[in-house]
């Protein structure tokens, strides 16, 4: 995606400078191929799963789609603003608990969450409505936190988001009457079909794309690459960052709600450092500044994790069954990540996107 093209190019006509207006949606038309290709990749994975039809594999693919949602959410903020955020999984946590509050059977809810207001205990709605509300709730939380945090930049901002994650985790682990504390919340309806996850993943890819080519997204990327010049050209950096933060917070909330439905159980510690790092790692390995990089990073690392798990469970080749010892899966994952980063420090994709035409970095 090139940021330079839609700029109005001055032309000299009869000695006067006349601005040439660009054709409408020229940038959208040029870049739409990227989200389409990525969506096709998702659909291909889904169809492949349909054909194999095995239950455990189904769950694996659902996890892949969930991670795609989360990593795309991260990309909207981290990729466009260049500020590394460790706090986004906090929004996932908020989203997951909203889904729990809205979809669990009221009778069970009354026992588990005695501190919730009455109307919330009575509420029970289909999962997709709950997921939308979860996204809005997480987006609002991002707006509130973002108003404060977006004034920071660089490593101070990263640490502040870290502190935010730790705050959310502490509150949700200890507010027993509302969140059930550290014990797991059960009774969330489990959705086993892969389609809702696929649709949500595709929607988030398109949201991320639309944001990236919007005026705000372009301004934010300009600010990422040249903060001083961008500020001097009249870009209000905190405001653009806040917009990206809210959008990405909402996507993370959506991912959290769906994650709750995929496993049916939530605990605050599901949404803490482990998930934070695995999602950030996927984004960085794929290429931080690229939507395609994020999505393909997820697919690639998920495939790797799955293969290693499979080896850990044991494989029989002919008569000989062999398996790798426990813990080696994570060790191998870590080593492979280090090797990829050592060979390609900017991630596999860097700033580039996949598309049919020859492509330039932005």
């Amino acid at each position: 995606m090139s940021a330079a093209s839609p700029a109005i190019e001055p032309q000299l006509t009869n000695g006067a400078i006349v601005a040439k207006t660009p054709r409408p949606f020229v940038l959208a038309r040029r870049t739409i191929i990227t989200p389409i290709l990525l969506s096709l990749l998702m659909i291909a994975i889904a169809l492949l799963t349909m054909m194999t039809g095995s239950r455990p594999f189904n769950q694996v693919i659902i996890d892949v789609f969930l991670r795609v949602i989360l990593v795309v959410g991260l990309y909207v903020f981290i990729g466009n603003s260049g500020v590394l955020s460790f706090g986004h999984i906090g929004f996932t946590c908020l989203g997951a608990y909203v889904a729990a509050w809205l979809t669990i059977n009221p009778v069970m809810k009354k026992m588990a969450f005695s501190g919730l207001p009455g109307w919330l205990i009575k509420a029970q709605m289909p999962y997709w409505e709950a997921a939308i509300i979860a996204a809005i709730f997480a987006g609002l939380a991002a707006l509130i936190f973002g108003r404060i945090l977006m004034r920071l930049s660089g490593i101070a901002a990263s640490i502040a988001t870290f502190a935010m994650l730790a705050m959310i985790n502490t509150i949700y682990s200890n507010w027993e009457t509302v969140t059930g504390g550290t014990s797991s919340v059960v009774g969330i309806p489990i959705i086993r079909s892969i389609w809702p996850y696929l649709i949500a993943a595709i929607i988030s890819i398109f949201i991320a794309w639309a944001h990236a080519i919007s005026r705000s997204g372009l301004a934010l990327r300009a600010a990422r690459d040249e903060p001083t010049a961008a500020a001097a050209s009249g870009i209000d950096i905190p405001r653009e960052r806040l917009i990206a933060f809210v959008i990405s917070g909402a996507i993370m909330g959506l991912g959290g709600a769906l994650m709750a439905h995929s496993i049916g159980v939530v605990t605050p510690d599901t949404f803490y450092l482990g998930l934070t790092f695995i999602t950030i790692a996927m984004l960085v390995v794929g290429g931080m500044g690229s939507l395609s990089g994020g999505v393909i990073g997820v697919v690639f690392l998920s495939a790797l994790i799955q293969t290693l798990r499979w080896l850990e469970a044991g494989v029989s080749v002919g008569d000989i069954a062999f398996s790798i010892p426990k813990g080696l899966q994570e060790i191998a994952l870590g080593i492979i990540m280090i090797i990829i980063l050592a060979l390609r420090p900017a991630g596999v994709f860097g700033n580039r996107e996949i598309s049919l035409t020859r492509n330039r970095g932005d």
Binding site: A156, M167, L273, E330
Partner: protein, 301 residues
Amino acid sequence: MLQILFDALSLGSLYALGALGIALIFGVMRLVNFAHGDVIAFCVFALLWPSTDAMAIVFAGQLPWYLLVPFVLLCGAGLSVLCEIVVFRRFRTGNPATMMIASFALGFVIRYFLLMLFSSRPKSINLLPELSQPIEIFGARLPLLQLITIIVTMLILLGLTLFLRRTRFGLEMRAAAENFSMARMLGVRANRVIMGAFALSGALAGAIALIFGIQTGTADIQMGAAIMLMAFIATVIGGLGSLAGAVLAGFLLGAASVIMQVMLPIDARPFRDAFVYGAVILVLLFRPQGLISARGTKERV
């Protein structure tokens, strides 16, 4: 009152030592080392013989203290230098985010290596039990260990200051922290300085491991993470790259935690950490460059 003061100081000591370990490395190579917490855990487990039983088989832990302490410090320093040679050397020109993720991946590798050898169950260890006995000072009953923690931390800080101010190596390290390429041009050997920083930081991790291991009496592969998080935050609040700032912020964080524990109403006490983190965000808002900003890290336009 005195009790609170000592609690704050001893908790602060742990955070300060952790923050120092991170700040040392950040100073010379702009790397936020997430693997530091796992180096701490490794040092504790170095005292045990690998086994997956619940009962810990103490191996090196049986050494008398004058051998035990150097052994743990060496373990930390050795592992840390090894990490530098095998991994971080390849990332020296990388951008900070890449280095951070690489260090995280490395921490992951160390943690699961420990898990493979020792299983994930926390083990109880009994290190130097005579240190847990309480003693009485000015009417307050304190565990001897708390006092020793504080004294040892002070000694380490003093020693480190002398080392950085008075020796040639310390001078080189400070020069490298301020302007790395300039220092190299003036004849500071990059590899030597960076390895020195890693060794020092690893030895500090060993010291934390000893104190923490004796204090809690357990060895747990997750134990590094908790200190790490606070130390990491202390490093940033103190001003990244500033050693004095890291130490100051470490003590402040320890004090804030202990004071909030005492002052907060009972209902709010479980949320203590949330208040501490809230305070961290506040501090960052008013001083985004940290309490003491290091000279070398200012952004230039």
